[in-house]
């Protein structure tokens, strides 16, 4: 389910960019950390599989939601791009039919995340070697 949702999010980024709105903090972090200086470049990066090793972390209720009749959940994922480990959180409001990128930054536990990614890469390598 979380990965299907991400696919839908990617399709929205590709086909209806006006319906995808990054929060100001996400825009600032994308610029500062990932050198993605415009909304267009941020969405293009997402569409073109820039978020490698995407891993679902969790989903949480959006705390700022003022309308209890319209529950909104924020989906958070971890990803990697080159040597940078990143964190993306987005949500979909079915009333406004807009996707919102809430966060786009490095995870707070990025050292642990990097270690995990390296271990995963090493495991894959040793698996490949044992297959050879």
């Amino acid at each position: 389910m979380p990965y299907n949702l991400f696919k839908m999010f990617k399709i929205a980024c590709r086909d209806s960019p006006y319906d995808v709105i990054p929060f100001k903090q996400a825009t600032d972090d994308a610029n500062k950390i990932f050198n993605l200086r415009t909304k267009k470049s941020l969405l293009a990066f997402i569409v073109n599989d820039g978020l490698e090793d995407l891993t679902f972390i969790n989903k949480k209720k959006w705390e700022q939601n003022q309308n209890p009749d319209n529950p909104i959940e924020v989906y958070a994922y971890r990803f990697r791009t080159r040597a940078i480990v990143g964190y993306i959180a987005f949500m979909f409001n079915s009333k406004t039919e807009k996707w919102l990128i809430k966060s786009f930054h490095q995870p707070e536990d990025r050292n642990a995340a990097m270690l995990e990614a390296m271990q995963k890469a090493l495991e894959n390598k040793s698996l490949e070697e044992s297959n050879d």
Partner: protein, 209 residues
């Protein structure tokens, strides 16, 4: 006309304001643009709700990039003993490409600008191109430049015996110099063969290039 609503919560209570945003470009300086910031008074969401900033930011980035191209090429002409024709020849670019970029007659692609930035930081990449991107020669040029940079940053006085100092001249040839006391044979701790070996090793390494 459709009402403007907050994309996050659907409220209509939105404040629009302009805030300064700094665009920085390597070698192209900075430029400040006023971007739109929408804020929902109900849920507190802040962002560019109606995609109004991208054009402004892109234009500012383009202006900074044009300036970066000019600055990089001007720097090459001022500091490196090379002409634009020579650079074009080495890089196999059509003649007058760089002149046109510098004068703003044509704009380099993103890849072209990335190449210029690389050359600005690592001018020796031109030598690699000059050698037809031969892998071995490229590696030697790289190592040689790294050594030259390393030597220029190192204080050998800190790492070697005070009796022995190594200095380097700008044509990459290492010379061994001795203190007067060493030359007079007062220091017996460093054998002459070791000095000669060290001298030979460094000279050989450099001469390979």
């Amino acid at each position: 006309m459709t009402k403007k609503i907050c994309p996050a919560c659907g409220a209509e209570d939105i404040i629009k304001r302009k805030t300064p945003h700094l665009i920085n470009e390597a070698f192209g300086g900075g430029r400040e643009v006023d971007i739109v910031e929408d804020r929902c008074k109900v849920c507190g969401t802040v962002g560019d709700f109606f995609s109004q900033n991208d054009t402004l930011i892109s234009e500012a980035i383009d202006q900074c990039k044009s300036l970066a191209v000019k600055n990089i090429l001007q720097n090459f002409l001022s500091h490196a003993a090379t002409s634009m024709s020579s650079m074009e020849r080495a890089l196999e670019l059509p003649q007058r490409t760089l002149t046109k970029w510098k004068n703003g007659q044509t704009k380099p692609s993103a890849a072209g600008l990335a190449l210029l930035k690389m050359l600005r930081i690592f001018p020796w990449l031109l030598d690699v191109a000059e050698n037809k991107f031969d892998y071995e020669k490229g590696q030697r040029i790289h190592i040689n430049e790294a050594m030259r940079e390393l030597v220029s940053r190192m204080s050998f006085n800190d790492t070697l015996s005070s009796d022995l100092k190594i200095s380097t001249s700008c044509n990459f040839v290492f010379n061994l110099t001795y203190d007067n006391s060493f030359q007079k044979g007062h220091n017996e701790h460093v054998p002459q063969e070791a000095i000669e070996g060290l001298s030979g090793a460094t000279t050989m390494l450099v001469e390979q290039y």
